[in-house]
Structures are given as structure tokens and as C-alpha cells.
Amino acid sequence: MIRRYLLALLLSAASLAHAADELKSGTFDPPRMAPQIAQKAADGKDFSLDKLRGKVVVLEFGYTSCADVCPVSLALLKQAREKLGAMGDKLQVVFVTVDPQRDTAPKLKAYLEQFDKSFVGLTGSEEQMAAIRKAYGISATKKMVDGSKTEYTMGHSSYLYFIDPQGRLRALMPFGRPADDIVHDVTLLAKGQ
């Protein structure tokens, strides 16, 4: 009887250990290489996604006028980076605007600096940004604000896209997961999981 309980205990422990080793995000199997992005970043420097090999890249698609989703996700990413401590340098956040019309490079740079100076912003022509969205399978829809001829909001993906140190698109995390979940997944990916 005792042996049976011990076996059950061992199996439970093994199951818990296995769960701890699994990503909390949605995952791809087999993963594909993340589509390359190469253009000027909002800070004026050249940006190339493939130059970030060795780091975990988290892509967020959004826009600076977003009232609810983007600021929350960026704040969570900043919190996650802080929680990662010495491993924080292994995480690179890249914010890709879905609203290049309003998100000029200086505006995007200033916006991201409010969260974390290490965050990279990408904006460009409508065609450039549409090409990135297409490569990642993302749609963005413009919706005019009622009663206004100029004001609009953008419907866009609220997921975070995780690229591993080998440059593979590995996982997607739904909006609103706690910073600890981001830390968990970044840590696993950084360790080569």
C-alpha cells in the first residue's frame, strides 16, 4: 500500500515538473523561422530581426493611440523585464505599429520610452507595415469613431509573439496574462527549450 502511494506521489511530482517545463503560451509544432523584418527603427537605427539571434524577441503589434490593450501589454513586458533581473538583457521587445499614418518615428520612440528605453519601435510606410502583418498573418482594421471624420481606432491582434534565440516563431501569448507568465516563457526559451 505504501509503495502504491509513493508511486502516485512520484507520478504527481513528475507531472508537476513536466508542467513547469511547458510554455504557458500557445505553441507551434514544428516552429517555422520568424519572417525577417529589416528596416529603420523609430530611433533612426537600422533594425534587422535576424541580428537579434541569441535573444528572445517578443513582438507586439499595436499603436500609440490604443487606449486599452497596448499600454497594458507594454507595462506587463516592462514588469517582466524587471523581474527577469540579470536575464532581462536576453529579452528584446519589438513594438510594430499597425497605424503608421499617425505613429511617426519620433512619436513612437517617445511613447515606448515611457515604458522602457530598450523597447524597439518599428514604423514605416503603409506598404512596409502591411507586408510585416501579412508575413505574420495579422490583420488590422480601421474603425472611424462615431461622429468624427478624422478620429479612428485600429482593431488588431492583442497577442504577444515569441521568437526564440534561434530565430524561430515559437509561441503566442494571449492578452492579459500576468508578467510572471511572460517571465516563465522567456526564461524557458532563453534556456533553449
Binding site: 511547458e22 507551434f28 514544428p30 517555422r32 505574420y136 498573418g137 492583442s158 497577442y159 503566442l172 494571449p174
Partner: protein, 145 residues
């Protein structure tokens, strides 16, 4: 001799009561938490040919702690978009859920372009668990509505 039917009835009642008690209070174990849905090869071609190819249900119901991982397999020859996810041909996308709620997704594998994933809380010990087990018995795949 006259007692035998009463004894049998009592025994049967005890067995039924035991089974109900087990169904209501025994922990739910699941060999796999994955609820697999496959987009078969040729789905896109059938749709392009004007055929109404309904492959996936409009609503998928998952239960936390039981079947709380949505596993989408794209066996078609073209990429499929599921919500914010581009699933390439031959690729799986495995999405675990940790919170109960309703999650609407855009999905190109649906003629309507929409799919909803309903995530229900883990059935509590007692009546909820009993109801869940009975429902599972009646339905071959409890996560399909």
C-alpha cells in the same frame, strides 16, 4: 426464500449509490488535455470550388483541468488563420487555456469566418462532477457542442 428479491434490490441500490458517489466525488483524470481539431487536406480547394466545407464546429467547449488545451492541426496545403495565428501546412498550434470564459476567434477554416471557444470551469466535486460525467457518457467527445 422470500427475502432474496429484497436483498438483490438492496444490493443493486448499494451498487448504484456507490457508482453515483464515485461519479460525484472521484477526481477527474484525463489521459490527455488536448482537444484535437484537424483541418483536413483539400479544405481550401473544396471551398474554392464553392463547396460548403464545415470542418470545425462553430463552438468548441473545453473544461479546465480536463480538456483545456486546444490543438489545431493544419493538414491542408495552404496556411490557415486561426484568430491571430497563421498555421502553416503541416503545422500544429497548441493553445492552453487557464481561465474560464468565452473566446471568439476569426478562423479561415470556417465558412462563417468565426469560431468560439468556450472554456468552462473544472466541475466541482458533487452534483457538478456527476452531471459532467453523465454528459460525457452521453457525448462521444465532450468538448464538442
Amino acid at each position: 426464500m422470500k427475502r432474496r428479491p429484497a436483498v438483490i434490490a438492496l444490493l443493486l441500490a448499494a451498487v448504484v449509490a456507490g457508482a453515483l458517489a464515485w461519479a460525484a466525488f472521484a477526481p477527474i483524470r484525463s489521459a490527455s488535455h488536448d482537444a484535437l481539431f484537424e483541418i483536413p487536406k483539400g479544405t481550401w480547394a473544396r471551398r474554392m470550388a464553392g463547396e460548403k466545407a464545415e470542418i470545425l464546429p462553430d463552438t468548441i467547449t473545453l473544461v479546465l483541468g480536463v480538456n483545456d488545451v486546444l490543438l489545431l492541426r493544419n493538414s491542408d496545403t495552404v496556411p490557415q488563420i486561426f484568430g491571430p495565428v497563421l498555421i502553416m501546412p503541416g503545422q500544429d498550434f497548441r493553445l492552453p487555456f487557464e481561465q474560464a470564459g468565452e473566446h471568439p476567434f476569426a478562423c479561415t477554416a470556417h465558412a462563417s469566418g468565426q469560431m468560439t471557444v468556450v472554456v468552462k470551469p473544472t466541475p466541482l466535486a458533487g452534483l457538478q462532477r456527476l452531471q459532467w460525467r453523465l454528459q460525457s457518457l452521453l457525448s462521444r467527445a465532450p468538448w464538442r457542442d
